[in-house]
């Protein structure tokens, strides 16, 4: 039985397209892996209890809070972080540009959750209503904007994403 227990765990993660093979302790969160092992500090730490959303990334195409995701459970997952949203030439994606244009953030601490959730929302809904936007962003707290500019930003992002697609 002891042979079924591992003290450290080997994980293969594709982060923003790049493959990483890492030997990690079993208790490590995906957030700590990204920030400490890969030095990718765009994913923020706000609470470590799943409440604020600042640590949001996408795992195999679905948003998740990386502080409450055990990295060892993710072997061979595809992760996209906020750094991975930019276009290949380094310019802002339509969603990022819309948040910039509409002042969708001030300090930017909540940006990972707001942007990653918007990206997932717009994949299946090109014209979201106010209440659909509220549901999509419900897992994220913003201490600066008062949420109105966030809603504007998501709507502007929907328009930009449609323009880009057509």
């Amino acid at each position: 039985m002891e042979d079924m227990l591992e003290d450290t765990v080997l994980v293969n993660l594709r982060v923003n397209g790049k493959l990483h093979e890492l030997e990690i302790p079993a208790h490590k969160s995906l957030l700590d892996l990204l920030r400490e092992d890969l030095n990718m500090t765009g994913t923020h730490m706000g609470c470590m209890t799943g409440h604020c959303g600042a640590c949001t990334v996408s795992i195999d195409g679905r948003v998740a809070k990386s502080c409450i995701t055990l990295a060892a459970t993710l072997s061979r997952a595809k992760i996209t972080t906020i750094e991975g949203l930019t276009e290949e030439d380094g310019t802002l994606s339509p969603i990022q540009q819309a948040f910039w244009d509409e002042a969708g953030f001030q300090c930017g601490y909540c940006a990972p959750g707001m942007l990653m959730c918007t990206a997932e929302l717009l994949e299946s809904n090109s014209d979201p209503s106010d209440s659909e936007i509220e549901t999509a962003l419900a897992g994220n707290l913003c201490r600066c904007t008062g949420y109105q500019s966030l809603k504007r930003a998501v709507k502007a992002a929907a328009v930009k994403a449609k323009e880009k697609a057509s």
Binding site: L5, D7, H27, G50, A72, T73, A138, N140
Partner: protein
């Protein structure tokens, strides 16, 4: 023994049973981690071994067999919300799963199994599962047994999470024409409610022919009011019956919770309000 927790990744149910049988109670099953990890990060919990059940195919998938619907314990809330079979045959459950807080991120990773095993008073799935008369398969090193969820919850030695594994949930489809409702009273912007109720009602003309009502978030475990209120059957809904339902449901809450979701006396009162509201809303949908 290492200072850090160890990790086990059973590939199938056989390996899972073997591992659970051989480890001490410091081992903990992890599914989505949405309940476990906040406690670990907060310092309230320190598993010695994580048993990752995410690789076990038998815990996944939603299917219909012999007139019943099976939901693998590793099914995430998002899939319970959006699955066609659940939406058409168990609409109460898909609606209740959508009322879970924490946002899309928690819906994408939190599992139905983790939600059941946590048996947390403020969680949203148990009242509906109890109202639907769910049964569950539980695996331990002595084999797999099928039990009514209501009985499992009364068994303090179920060992779920370290010595036994919830494999799947069995549910009978709701009767065509049955009305249903899940009411969640929220007084804060956070995810959790202060009282809730799931109800399923069938009618003949305007008379109630069957009634299932379970009230949650007001005591340590959800309270099934169906027996207490069974004499509603045969009657038509009226202002008088509604008042009676409210008073009798509140009276059933012997030890109300008093926490940051509200104080005990108020929670007891809200138990009645939710039961009444859920039945009323279910009756409107029945037909």
């Amino acid at each position: 023994m290492s200072l850090y927790p160890a990790f086990a990744r059973p590939r199938d149910l056989g390996q899972a049973a073997e591992i659970m049988g051989s480890l001490s109670t410091g081992a903990m099953i992890i599914a989505g981690g949405q309940e476990l990890m906040p406690s670990v990060n907060y310092g309230a919990l320190m598993p010695e071994v994580y048993i990752d059940v995410g690789q076990i195919a038998a815990l996944k998938g939603i299917s219909e067999e012999a007139g019943a619907i099976q939901i693998g314990s590793f099914t995430v809330h998002r899939d319970v919300q959006n699955n066609d079979l659940i939406q058409s045959k168990l609409p109460l459950l898909s609606y209740a799963a959508a009322q879970i807080g924490g946002g899309m991120q928690v819906h994408n990773r939190g599992t139905i199994g983790g939600n059941i095993v946590a048996m947390h008073p403020l969680y949203d799935i148990l009242p509906s599962l109890l109202a639907l008369g769910a049964e569950v398969d539980v695996l331990s090193d002595v084999g797999e047994v099928r039990v009514a969820l209501a009985d499992l919850m009364k068994d303090a030695r179920h060992g779920l999470g370290s010595e036994s594994l919830l494999v799947r949930v069995h549910l009978k489809p709701m009767m065509p024409g049955a009305g249903w409702s899940y009411e969640k009273l929220k007084i804060t912007a956070g995810g959790y409610g202060s009282a809730n109720a799931a109800a399923i009602v069938t009618l003949d003309s305007s008379k109630i022919t069957s009634l299932r009502v379970v009230v949650g978030a007001v005591s340590a475990l959800p309270v099934d009011m169906s027996d207490t209120l069974s004499d509603c059957c045969g009657q038509a809904w009226s202002a008088h019956l509604a008042e009676e339902v409210e008073a009798r449901s509140s009276a059933e809450i012997k030890e109300p919770l008093s926490d940051h979701q509200g104080d005990g006396e108020w929670r007891r009162a809200m138990a009645g309000v939710m039961a009444r509201g859920a039945i009323e809303a279910a009756i409107k949908k029945a037909g």
